[in-house]
Symmetry: C2
Subunit: 556 residues, 2 copies
């Protein structure tokens, strides 16, 4: 009989920045009692996932082992950590534990899906802890770009694991708890088996700056601006929203929050008491009556999202408000790689309106919520784990983080999604490879990333689509001519005749030449028609389209 | 009778970085003799132009006025300046003038299209000039990131215009002519009516660095690397390719160029004499036999292009060569906004192979080819034009460049694509707005950006596609049941029955309910069927697909 073991198994987040989902388990191999840390989403893009609404981790393995699952712990309320809780509640069913602010956000999600809000339980931070099977889990406050972010102390009979969650070392984070070195020393003192550590900013060479450093710069900017002042940041960065609002208030401006996410986050912050002393705000309706030089809008859409307030203002109007020459628009944010096109589009639209756009290229108006390279090293030294496993990073971040650890003589270990790591004993081992991947929320259904559905859409986007129809009688003789419909293809090509006419003529000739065997065999006939449609389109317009062939056989 | 006037009319490049095409004209209004400066392309992306091969400026206006066109002048051989010459040669027909290296590249393009190479004429730089109707045009050497880049002196009876082309102020550009201040002073001395000026780096606050500054850093990096050393840069940056090759040679490595564009550019540089003393290279075939620590590959694909050498190496193999643990890959380039996803994909693939990826985040291994803000100011002061018109920029760059000019008491004027500016008299005026836009090369045909073809492809990518087929007899009675084919949609939805079955059932019911008027009317019937198909798909899977309806009426 084999002995108990402690395992770590990332399902998401170890090989990407997004859709975090980390499993820990303790017990006999195959019978471990499990906990899940975070259950987030990632966002689709036109390149690889057109039309997809959300990307979720594939939790197939965990759903199969749901009887072993004791609990879900959510470190903080960013979408890449909490976004999938409601989507997967039916499959997992386990209770969800989080601190008050995170729980507030999680409950809003549960309630949108009609799930019981009581499934989300509010817990207090360390020294309190939650028992979950063989685990004792404590929430350790740590600074990040959202209130009440926490690392987790995960104690099992095999020792202590610290899961940092997303973090930075900020002793003056404006809203929420400052980084408390003494507390982190305290939890590290008994000895830490493994540190599972945020890797996002491992390539940023300079020590991170405090959230409190941006306030004075933003104040100067607001004070020096003449028209309306509009700013955007991540809605969940409550500290930043507060900083922006206070800068506006000091400049004698009324503050108006715009965009659903922005209002929800502030609401949740006030309800849970994490936000105090937020300046009074006015409604968009009232804002319309305020002279523009006395008004500050704080809006959603720092990433250029098409439906957010910033994009709508850039398109001309949002909730009755229009920007114009002399106004200022501040991106108090960084552009996440991949979102550049959308952000630049908005900047140019504002430029056309005569609005002065200010972004963070100066480095003055935004700070990251993640620990930079020197901060990661400080965390390593503070915790002094037996093993360092990087998480929350693309492969290149994880690899660099391991190298960084090794350069400081720490035992770094690279684990990517699907690697079940046995942390028992003296060194980590890969116990098993689990099938992981991505699940797409596509409309209202979930589809597998490898199902081919989105691949087919990409193909239609690249190649266009031809539909071929043929009707045959009971003797396999064509009834009339074949006909075509095209979508996403040029209407005329090199012959200057309509493409559809050329295709129909070529297909008709093919049918005329086709032997009885072909005409009697749907597969052969379809293959022949598809080939002709592709070839003729290639000849006419130089594209090889997707082709759908419909063969109708009439028994009259 | 109105008097002669001097006009400037950008068709492309003033409102985007790409597809440069600037018209100058002189003569009676509507009868100006015209010249075209540059005729470039821009590159498609999945967001807005999936499946498109190239984006060209819409030259409809110029083609209508081709009788007035005297000549085309190409400032340098970057694709966004020369890429469309062969695509539009039939529509324009005018002779093309360029310096030797640029002409070499242009002739390669002409010959690929079967156009006469003699249409491209090689000209010598200032003080020689080319007469083109009322214009005298001289090529003024200036430093940029490609050999023989030139500004243009454009003299007309209305005075001198200087068109900078793309430029930086580099007195030590490694390959090609250094920036020659005395020459620029000389051409500016007689007084300059208008300076049409590159705006790309107007937001870069520090003075630009010389191409020669990267060599020593690259040498250090190569010297310190152990396995194979692979590097990528823009193929046309011949100076950089030389710098890389020389660094490799000094470290005792054999140099192998990979990728068609890379070899073509070096070939053109050698043929035209702009490149001398390039280290000896080995073929990919020979490279395979060389120990990896003695080999340097210089490859195409710095922007993550899927078919380029770098992407293929990242996918596993290119021309028999495979990278592995301990090798180094250097991006001696910057990532153009919008290309981040592709570049990051490659970086992660290399990371998975154990290859160390070095990019320019340190600022050591790349310098821009464009003038930064202080360099633009230096150019303004040097030329002291009556009017400054920014070009080669998105709207935000042009606007900022005008603001910069005004802050230095220069008369800056913002002109975007389609604005015909009358430069005669004391101040510029908008004479007319010309319809401009983009033309897509889609396969082998050109389609208008507003034709809806690519829009339809995007819709299929976002929404998926349903095809509905119905056959009716001569009495308008349905022959059999309607049937569907889906593409890019989940196969089953909420009812757990196949989506196609659900659709066919709902469509069948609709047909059963439909009155004679509907059944007899193709438009009504199509509308009804489309509506049902959309609604049922929405109910089943939460998506509203594109629907193609095919109605066949059989006269038996």
């Amino acid at each position: 009989m084999s002995s108990d073991r402690l395992i770590y198994l990332p399902l998401g987040g170890a090989g990407e920045i997004g859709m975090n989902a980390y499993i820990y388990g303790y017990g006999k191999p195959g019978k471990e009692r499990l906990i899940l840390v975070d259950l987030g989403v990632t966002f689709p893009d036109m390149d690889g996932t057109p039309g997809v609404d959300l990307i979720l981790p594939d939790i197939g393995w965990l759903a199969e082992h749901r009887d072993q699952l004791e609990a879900v712990f959510i470190t903080h309320a960013h979408e890449d950590h909490v976004g999938a809780v409601a989507h997967y509640y039916n499959q997992l069913g386990a209770p969800i534990y989080a601190r008050a602010f995170t729980a507030n956000i999680a409950r809003r999600k549960m309630s949108e899906f009609g799930h019981p809000e009581r499934a989300v339980q509010t817990v207090s931070p360390w020294p309190e802890f939650t028992e979950a099977g063989p685990f004792k889990v404590g929430f350790i406050p740590i600074s990040h770009s959202i209130p009440e972010s926490s690392g987790l102390v995960i104690d099992s009979p095999e020792g202590r694991v610290i899961h940092t969650g997303d973090f930075k070392l900020d002793e003056n984070p404006v809203v929420g708890e400052p980084f408390d070195r003494a507390l982190w020393e305290e939890i590290s003192a008994p000895g830490v088996k493994a540190l599972i550590c945020d890797s996002t900013n491992v390539f940023s060479p300079l020590a991170g700056r405090s959230e409190s450093s941006v306030g004075p710069e933003i104040e100067k900017l607001v004070a020096g601006s003449k028209g309306m002042f509009v700013c955007t940041t991540f809605a969940s960065n409550v500290a930043r929203v507060k900083t922006l609002a206070e800068a506006g208030e000091r400049a004698g401006r009324s503050i108006c929050l715009m965009g659903r996410a922005m209002r929800q986050m502030i609401e949740a912050s006030v309800e849970t008491g994490v936000l105090k002393g937020f300046p009074k705000t006015v409604s968009p309706e009232d804002a319309k009556g305020i002279p523009r030089e006395n008004l500050m809008l704080i809006v959603t859409g720092s990433q250029g999202e098409r439906r957010a307030a910033s994009a709508q203002l850039a398109n001309g109007k949002y909730q009755g408000i229009t920007l114009k020459e002399g106004d200022t628009f501040l991106f108090s944010s960084k552009t996440i790689p991949g979102n550049e096109r959308g952000v630049i589009r908005i900047m140019n639209q504002f430029s056309e309106m005569g609005v002065d756009v200010v972004d963070d290229s100066s480095g003055l108006y935004h700070v990251s919520g993640h620990a930079n390279r020197p901060d990661l090293e400080a965390m390593h030294k503070l915790v002094q784990p037996q093993i360092l496993i990087p998480m929350h990073g693309e492969h290149r971040h994880l690899r660099e983080h391991v190298k960084l650890a090794k350069s400081n003589r720490l035992n770094g270990f690279l684990a990517v999604n699907g690697m079940m790591i046995d942390l028992s004993g003296n060194k980590p081992n890969v116990a098993e490879y689990i099938e992981t991947g991505r699940t797409y929320l596509d409309g209202s259904v979930k589809v597998g990333a490898l199902d081919g559905i989105v691949r087919d859409r990409i193909r239609m986007a690249l190649n266009g689509h031809v539909m071929v129809n043929v009707i045959l009688d009971e003797n396999d003789d064509p009834l009339g001519d074949p006909w075509c419909e095209i979508m996403g293809l040029a209407e005329t090509g090199h012959s200057r005749a309509p493409l559809v006419d050329v295709l129909e003529e070529d297909l008709s000739q093919f049918l005329g030449r086709a032997g009885d065997r072909t005409l009697a065999d749907d597969d052969k006939l379809e293959e022949g028609l598809r080939k002709i449609a592709r070839q003729s389109t290639q000849t006419e317009i130089g594209k090889r389209p997707e082709v759908t062939v419909v063969i109708s056989r009439m028994a009259l």
